[in-house]
């Protein structure tokens, strides 16, 4: 690279050959600089780009428009409460009837995730099988059509739970992201973020009163 050796092109003419030394350039400063810049760029490069979770909310209902009726037998209510805890119950809470019992769960893999998986077993296994087949090469379809297929499975689902996520006051944003992530992990096709209603607020309060250990700050 830095060595320049000139060769005499006309040898025959009896000219006296002048022996030329190859010019050596000291490359050390250049190497130093290159090394420095290299280190700088390596350290400033952000390799792992942040990931995103896409959320599509239903459009705001217009006036005089009734929200769609919910199938009670499929409803699964998840109430997020403070201290990273989750309460859940099936069906709808009707103040005129006996209120459903709240069950306590947490965000570990044996917590709310197990509940959701048990409720959504059929669809979960279908989607999981599809994903595995694609990864193992049993099913040869382009990568970008996998998502479409999963969406079609979601749409065809008639028995899976409809999850209503309700966050009480004092819940951290992290918990909400976690619970939406649970939906993605367990392949729940239908879920929605809704406001907590007064009846449920009362249910949470009475649950806390009868189980004082829930709100005490002690992490397992």
């Amino acid at each position: 690279m830095a060595e320049i050796v000139q060769e005499e092109s006309h040898k025959g003419k009896g000219k006296k050959k002048v022996k030329k030394h190859g010019t050596h350039i000291d490359m050390t400063p250049m190497v130093d600089l290159a090394c420095l810049l290299l280190t700088f760029f390596m350290l400033t490069t952000a390799f792992n780009k942040p990931k995103v979770m896409e959320i599509i909310l239903p459009e705001k209902p217009k006036e005089n428009e009734k929200p769609p009726e919910l199938d009670k037998s499929r409803a699964l209510n998840i109430l997020l409460i403070d201290n990273d805890k989750v309460l859940w119950y099936n069906g709808l809470a009707d103040p005129n009837k006996t209120l459903p019992d709240l069950q306590l769960a947490n965000f570990s893999k044996e917590g709310i995730r197990k509940v959701l998986l048990q409720r959504n077993k059929e669809l979960f296994l279908k989607v999981d099988k599809l994903k595995k087949d694609v990864i193992e090469g049993k099913l040869k379809i382009p990568r970008d059509s996998v998502e479409g297929r999963i969406k079609r499975l979601y749409k065809a689902d008639k028995f899976g739970p409809i999850v209503l996520i309700k966050a009480a006051d004092g819940v951290k944003y992290r918990n909400v992201v976690d619970i939406i992530d649970e939906m993605a992990i367990t392949n729940v096709a239908r879920y929605s973020l809704v406001d907590i209603n007064p009846v449920e607020k009362k249910m949470v309060q009475s649950f806390k009163n009868s189980n004082p250990s829930v709100t005490a700050i002690n992490k397992p």
Binding site: V52, L80, L117, K172
Partner: protein
Amino acid sequence: MGKIKLAVKTPRIDMTPMVDLFFLLLVFFILTATFRPEEAAPIDTPTSTSQTPIPDNHLVTILISKDDKVFFNVDNGSDSTEHIRGKVLQAIGSNYKIKFTPKEVKKFEGLASFGVPATKLKDFLNAPDTKAREAMQSGIPIDSTDNQLMMWIRFARTYNNDLAFAIKGDGSANYPAVKKVIAVLQDNNVNKFNLTTDLKAVELPSDFINK
């Protein structure tokens, strides 16, 4: 006895291959480098298993810090010649009757996320250094009486109509603050948006694996 003197030669190492390699790596890193932008507040995003990468440009980011302050960021579009940030700033200026000098507009285009009320924008842009700027970041007002975030979103969409939206909230921010931001997005008919998260692995309960 005559000793035989050996000429001591300093060994010369041919550095050419090393230099070649260095330059190759250097070029690679220069070309792939995306600088971490200076952010208005440190934000520790929650984790999720989602693997979708964040879009490179045409993105509005709404940051929510640990203490529930709201910050806003919009990029310049595909490249800086589109001057989208500048246009948005001037639109905000005319809405709040503030006139920005070309120098201030240029300064604004070079910045990233910010969280100052419109009335303080001029001071913010004329602040001498990063520290002074940081002290002024009190968050963008989103109360119903003075919903400036709404304005920023509206004007950003006016000048760039294929914007994606991302909410980058701190894990320990309170959910009501995030809910307010989501409500503002929905008021602007943005029903599809992203939540920025860090990656974590999926774990399943033991009886649901390999079935």
